[in-house]
Symmetry: none
Subunit: 464 residues, 2 copies
Amino acid sequence: MPETSADLDRVLSRIDADLDQSIERLFATLRIPSVSTDPAHAADCRAAAEWHAADLASMGFEASVRSTPGQPIVVGHRREGSGPSALFYGHYDVQPADPLELWEADPFEPRIVTRPDGTKEIRARGAADDKGQLMTFVEACRAWIAETGRLPLPVTILLEGEEESGGASLPPFLEEHADELRADIGLICDTGMWDRDTPAITTMLRGMVSEEVTVHAANRDLHSGFYGAAAANPNRVLARVLADLHDAEGRVTIPGFYDGVPELPERLRAEWGGLGFDTAGFLGEVGLSLPAGERAYSALEQTWSRPTAEINGMVGGYTGPGFKTVIPAEARAKISFRLVFDQDPIAIREAFRAFVRARVPADCSVEFHAFGAARAVAFDTTAPAFAKARQALTDEWGRAAAYIGCGGSIPVNIHIKETLGMDVVNVGFGLTDDRLHSPNEKYDLRSFHKGARSWARILAELAG
Amino acid sequence: MPETSADLDRVLSRIDADLDQSIERLFATLRIPSVSTDPAHAADCRAAAEWHAADLASMGFEASVRSTPGQPIVVGHRREGSGPSALFYGHYDVQPADPLELWEADPFEPRIVTRPDGTKEIRARGAADDKGQLMTFVEACRAWIAETGRLPLPVTILLEGEEESGGASLPPFLEEHADELRADIGLICDTGMWDRDTPAITTMLRGMVSEEVTVHAANRDLHSGFYGAAAANPNRVLARVLADLHDAEGRVTIPGFYDGVPELPERLRAEWGGLGFDTAGFLGEVGLSLPAGERAYSALEQTWSRPTAEINGMVGGYTGPGFKTVIPAEARAKISFRLVFDQDPIAIREAFRAFVRARVPADCSVEFHAFGAARAVAFDTTAPAFAKARQALTDEWGRAAAYIGCGGSIPVNIHIKETLGMDVVNVGFGLTDDRLHSPNEKYDLRSFHKGARSWARILAELAG
């Protein structure tokens, strides 16, 4: 077998030696503003897909860009060896960069910033989410191929372009190409470390269902003097809906919302309790101090094992400089629910819509636009791949890897589990200060470098 | 006395005969884009002021353009006769014309449009608000002077240039020139008819206090997966504040808000009841059907004699196309309160701020920006000028003039009342379909023509 310990040492040395070239390749994809939610960037999304397909082809992958009704999907195969096979998933699309004025430099002109302590970070939109992370896996493969002429096990790489914009094209794509894509284990690099020095495997992720709500009132904007009070104000209607979503205890008030939400299993409570989560530090880092969720739960449980309702955006009326005494014709909000355990996104979407309709006056109307809907996921960590990945991470970082939860949603997990019948090992090297979805997003150079080394080790362990 | 019935008849005939020239003069001022809120139009505002001063001088007024820290103010005097004196107020500035693409023709190239029924309207920005209205008074003066060589009473004309942009320069100007400007009665032409055939005197106008509120939470935008529930969401905080402003009965809940708000005096209730206000028509014209204010009051009372809280604008988080799972760092709202009777705008501003602060979590902060604050005004209609103006209007239109309220605010009323100690008779010829502040603003030619005739009669009555 080629995956000897000597092979792995050479592969790790190659990763170290080629770091500058790895960074250059990452910068090349970071320069492409592949903002999937904005139709103006459709050509950029395709350019990013083509860049990744060409990159994989250059490593001997049988790679192609597959068109979908939305953004294209990149698929690459190297079907060597007879060991267990792996399907790696990443996403090449990124969040919008606005508000642009808060960036210290062009979000699509990546650069290395050296911190006062001499450590470095990669700054760009997508540096962490997910281009930097997905490239840790790609660079690990590249080093294996460069040193040994092959990968330790058959690998398929699947790169999506709609992760930040609902991901509607992926589930049908997985269904249609299930035979082509199915493998023994799924691998995803889109999560974080437990802390700066402790690697982690994320075994639970929240699901999500999201909606845009538009309340329509008068058939045109009105003067708030002549019509004020008498005419329905959609801002007021919407504010009532949004405020009613939570009670004074921080619980979501939509009927049936907590169906399928058990108390935290004792095993997880013990494991998480051992992590020594620092609530004050977690909130303090972003300038806050009071957990804002359900009062009965800790901040860690609020983000990992409890469902939420968040108002991600709201707008209505005049919001520019100065003042305009208008009663607008409409007001809009974007609302997302993070789901846990067995909550049913479709049932919650329907319950939410009924909740809204009940609060809209009879002479107003409401319009809903559905965005993504995905169940939460929790993997059974007794599957052997988890122990192997944990060992590889522990070897690289010199600390026992943690099994953790995650407040975010990576819907592909549930799609891979349900459509392809596979478990997924989520390993990522993000840190809590990466400013995902925010201005000045970064990825530690150490995460990028040791991330590639970690994957090189994981591939060896999985093949063993 | 020169104000004999024969004189008046000749003056009215002169107005009829000179209508085309009157229109030409109105067109000349309408062609000047005196948009006061836009610094790019500062020279146009001065040009408009100079045009009006020259026009008044040509009629024998001692007229001048007075500089202020903002737009200039025009003052013209004719100090003849010994009867009661009048101060007429109008404003030569106009609203911005955007959205330009919704205008059927250049907003600053006035034209006459003939409707299918043969009646005509004057189309231009400012046609009604307020150049067309103020010129009804000027043309009435011109006809009196042309026919009789004098006005029936001493008249001062004051034309402001910041009515559409905060009006900051007027109150100190009134104070500084109080002795020069004080008269026995104020006259303003910036309001509307009761309906197309029924003239009106507006005897009550709402005041207003307006605020912008910004809720700050985390020190940056957050990912709603990683922070959702645990981190305070300023959209949620703000929605709670905004929703709490009203109770289920539509009453404003700010403590002390209704201090100084009596039930409608019986005399007004009777007068308004006799107007036969068509609630269904009023709301139906804008696509609504249910009065949205305090349940205990009619739509007419809601807009004329009850105070309101309106959310004129709100914004927070991602509001563009698609979806962004962000918890924003801040959320903002613009809120205005229309005031009635003796409500104190300063006390209400303070009570509102306390109300907001009580709803902001301890780890968030709130910032306030004060916009205008003006008391409501209600004139005592037993002053003789009201009965005289009412008689003149009734004579011209063949229908009893109505005493009405107005939901809007014309702050100069309270400034004249408080600074100069005068009552003001608000007579205007606007109609509800004039599209004030909107594209394709118009003023009925009939309003312009009979408006001038009405003022000619009012001047005679007041002098009598």
